[in-house]
Subunit: 268 residues, 3 copies
């Protein structure tokens, strides 16, 4: 494992219990709150335009998810995001379904004109589309093969001066200059709704410690993927339903020594 | 088992991974997305008036659920439904709480003036009320005994030229001419929220294969009921909470041979 | 155990299946509906301004939760609450995040000018803030030590002529004159989202039987805490994910004899 990656961040989350504010979709909002709590941070999910700024005033990171976007939600997202940028707390943007509809693509592009996310996390299709490449979504699922996802992600990272995380069978995490590939994870993650959304929450937890680096983002996804691996091998996991509960359990019980033993990360 | 019923449709879902768009309630939206994924289709749950038409443009079926209806949601439902009717993809209507309030009953009746659902799926009280009969709901639960639910369902099917599915201890599925009774299922289904909503999603999965028939609807509910039976007999199921996770597992693992062995369907 | 506390109320819920209407947040709405069903009542979660009054007309109790408050939701809450007060059915108010933002604090104070809740249930910080004392929230979590929470709760109960329930390691339940301390519960309750929200739903179940007393509220929280204890000792519970499913199971299976055996309640 890369020596530059220090999973002690997990201990920091559990010690500091940072506040991770979410403006997210109605489908996986409960899962995002629970995974945040399982990793040791405190979630808050309020989304009224009348209070999001004040919540961000006290938050340690902000997760913005476009899953069930509406104009009202978009306006609250912009207000919260501006405040987060002012306060220099990390914004993790999950551009769910970028490219799926004209409305959604335009709203995400508008957002990227106004806000400076610290991390953009998406699947290969979403990242390709935001990078100006060809990408295919079926609903919100990435379709097709993306052989050149690494340069695509690097390009997006450079054009927005941010970290880009591409989740999939392997995860790619890049700041445009340096790139990590994470070979952890489990195919059952694709069989429950919300594993992508939860990945953004976990990045939100790790970055809420104050460390807004490529390494922190890589640690977050690795720890999350390993939780999924540990869940998948449990004797009581018999399919997606029991896997989801086990994923929460394993995130909560995760030990740094276990991460160090199982992490499969390489630099490219 | 009826020889006209071919559960190979389940294999078709898993092969084609059709897109099942939902406009549904905020209570069970996560469950509906997960059961769709467990049966092998891809769920999409976006509900903004600004994008539902474009999503339906690419969807293979549309599930409309009135559980937490608002005027805004109703308008999005109508837009999505018109597009689905234009494209001749199946609409599965779940008129949750029809008869529970004046507002909801009127909105559902308005909808039925505008849209042509392929399937109306409800409990005995909802179906009776929509059929112009007497029905009693307590909240959204059917109360009372409905001895003549078969002719009631047939009447509704004929008056709207659609399939009607009545879920309960036994399920009734009819197109007004032919009627199947499904004697599968388990009482624990009534002890978790959302089994009715999920039933509509499963019909949405089966019909998204392109087969918009009475048989496809019957196959869907039978497969779903058998998943529940398999979940109920698992040693690790100790109540509604563990049952719900097991139901997802068993839907995901369901084999056609198992369905053929356990299906209890009769024609009336 | 106090002889004045009669857990036969649990049997009454299961017999009568009262209707517990919720106007609640989008994060834990599914959990609140499920725990209500597990305790034997029927949940209804509709929140449109166009139908809440008619639903309350037929409801046996009303749970009002401020978790993801908006102006629209607030207006529906006020309409529903006025009807509940007119009909003299119990209102259980969960002032989630009172003190967390100016908006939220003001809206909760406005509500308390208009509605007469039967129970205000919150964590120590929320109850302290509503009582005009100092309180600290991190997101929606109570922070700090509240040594004088009992007089604080009593003061709030007296000023609003209602029951106040403070959940935490021990629960405090008071009507301002008499006060019970419940020493049941388990720390895992703090590791999943929604245990506070579900506590309000359980009070809603117990009070929906028609018994709007300090004792009914105390019985509710005790039964709920004991369900959590039973869940926590199950061999298949390995963390927060499996605990949540087990909590539902144990609430559903809970026996009055078990409650009587395990209840640790004292009068102060």
């Amino acid at each position: 494992m890369e020596s530059t990656l220090d999973f002690k961040l997990l201990e920091d989350i559990r010690q500091k219990k940072p506040l991770v504010h979410h403006l997210t979709n109605t489908v996986t909002i409960n899962d995002c709150a629970n995974i945040t709590l399982c990793f040791g941070a405190l979630p808050v999910m309020a989304n009224s335009i009348d209070e999001v700024e004040e919540i961000v005033e006290n938050a340690d990171s902000l997760v913005l998810n476009m899953g069930t976007l509406s104009n009202e939600q978009y306006n609250a997202i912009i207000l919260a995001g501006k405040k987060a940028n002012q306060r220099k707390i990390p914004i993790i943007l999950d551009p769910v379904g970028a490219g799926a509809t004209t409305y959604r693509t335009r709203k995400i592009q508008d957002l990227l004109e106004i806000l400076n996310p610290t991390v953009i996390k998406g699947n290969a299709a979403e990242i390709s589309i935001l990078s100006g490449q060809y990408g295919v979504l079926k609903g919100i699922e990435s379709q097709g093969i993306y052989n050149n996802i690494i340069p695509t992600a690097e390009k997006l990272a450079n054009s927005h001066n941010c970290i880009v995380a591409v989740t999939g069978q392997n995860d790619v995490v890049t700041n445009g200059q340096r790139t990590f590939i994470i070979e952890n994870g489990h195919w059952l993650m694709g069989k429950i709704i919300g594993t992508g959304c939860m990945a953004a929450s976990v990045i939100g937890c790790f970055m809420a410690t104050g460390i807004q680096t490529l390494e922190a983002c890589t640690c977050a996804l690795t720890a999350y993927d390993i939780s999924a691996e540990l869940a998948s091998i449990r004797a009581d996991v018999k399919g997606p339903g029991s896997f989801k509960a086990a994923l929460m359990d394993e995130a909560f019980n995760l030990q740094i020594t276990t991460i160090n033993r199982l992490a499969k990360i390489r630099k490219v």
